[in-house]
Symmetry: C2
């Protein structure tokens, strides 16, 4: 057995989610999180850049998965189809984590500082998506707008997926949401221009 209990980052993340959930983000000190994980405050900051980051450690992996799916899609795919490829990949990753996602999101929703961090995460996703689209030859401004639209659809669709009582698959909800975004421009309006 090692000198220390294993998986310090994981223990810190678990302790943080519990405490944020029990008594709120602001009312939780880093010292308390560390204590519950059997570590010191200083060690917390060795694993996570700040008190918020502990809830967002999984974001880079999701971003890379999304980007990879977009990059690997068939050559024939139109920009919007690339989003669907990304949606499907991410949906699979989340498939068996709906309850965990609900708990995590309820903590984030309860605190403005955590929402800020969440938005930064989505902005990074958008930037990475736009970059992947450009690498596939999608020109500006289409690349940026497709990426931004994709993030909007993901945001709205994800919110539906974790809504109480919702049981449909994430992939299906994201497709529906994408269709509804498209429908903002009805056929008649489109022909008027």
């Amino acid at each position: 057995m090692g000198r220390w209990k294993p998986n310090a980052p994981g223990r810190l993340a678990t302790a943080a989610l519990e405490l944020y959930s029990e008594r709120g983000f602001e009312q939780t000190t880093v010292a308390e999180i560390a204590k519950r994980a059997g570590l010191t405050e200083r060690t917390f900051f060795r694993h996570y850049a700040d008190k918020r980051e502990v809830l967002f450690a999984g974001a880079p992996a999701m971003r890379e998965l999304f980007v990879q799916a977009v990059s690997d899609a068939p050559r024939s795919a139109a920009p919007v189809d690339l989003l669907v490829a990304g949606f499907d990949a991410v949906s699979e990753m989340f498939a068996d984590r709906r309850e965990a996602a609900r708990q995590r999101q309820s903590v984030i929703t309860a605190n403005a500082h955590l929402q800020e961090r969440e938005l930064i995460k989505l902005a990074k996703l958008s930037a990475a998506l736009a970059e992947a689209l450009r690498r596939r030859g999608v020109a500006e401004p289409t690349a940026t707008l497709t990426a931004e639209a994709g993030v909007v659809v993901f945001k709205v669709g994800f919110a539906r997926w974790i809504a109480p009582g919702e049981e449909r698959e994430m992939a299906q909800l994201l497709r529906e949401t994408l269709g509804e975004l498209k429908a903002l421009w009805p056929r008649a309006a489109s022909e008027r221009m």
Copy 2:
């Protein structure tokens, strides 16, 4: 003459923008800002909730202007037309502040914490827009998606407006960007479904 020099919030905002611009956001302490404005650190926090907020004091006014324009648009307007009404109102407000916007944005772009706050402001704008749309009778999910799409267009169009050398009007750039978002779904693809 009063006991204190007038316009304390304005002096603090000016001093903060200067210092953030000169030596960066993180390298500036609140005490320094207050000192340059001829005030104390404690007084800074009486006018601004935190060190970042001092750059975003104008956001609520812009949000209200946008929402008002949406609310006041003619009954016949479709959801997407309501966005255009909002864009026109906001464009007018920014008309003679392009240089100021450029300086402010360059400060924000240089620091992740300021970007977080910027995103929160846009999220609030989105929520307020969706609410205004619902009050006009726009149903969900159209209201939320229209609002989110509107914010995306504003974000991208605004970035173009402050791009170096750009001289076109904001209203025109926003209309163009909205058209490009619509064009993500080409006629052919739309009929394939």
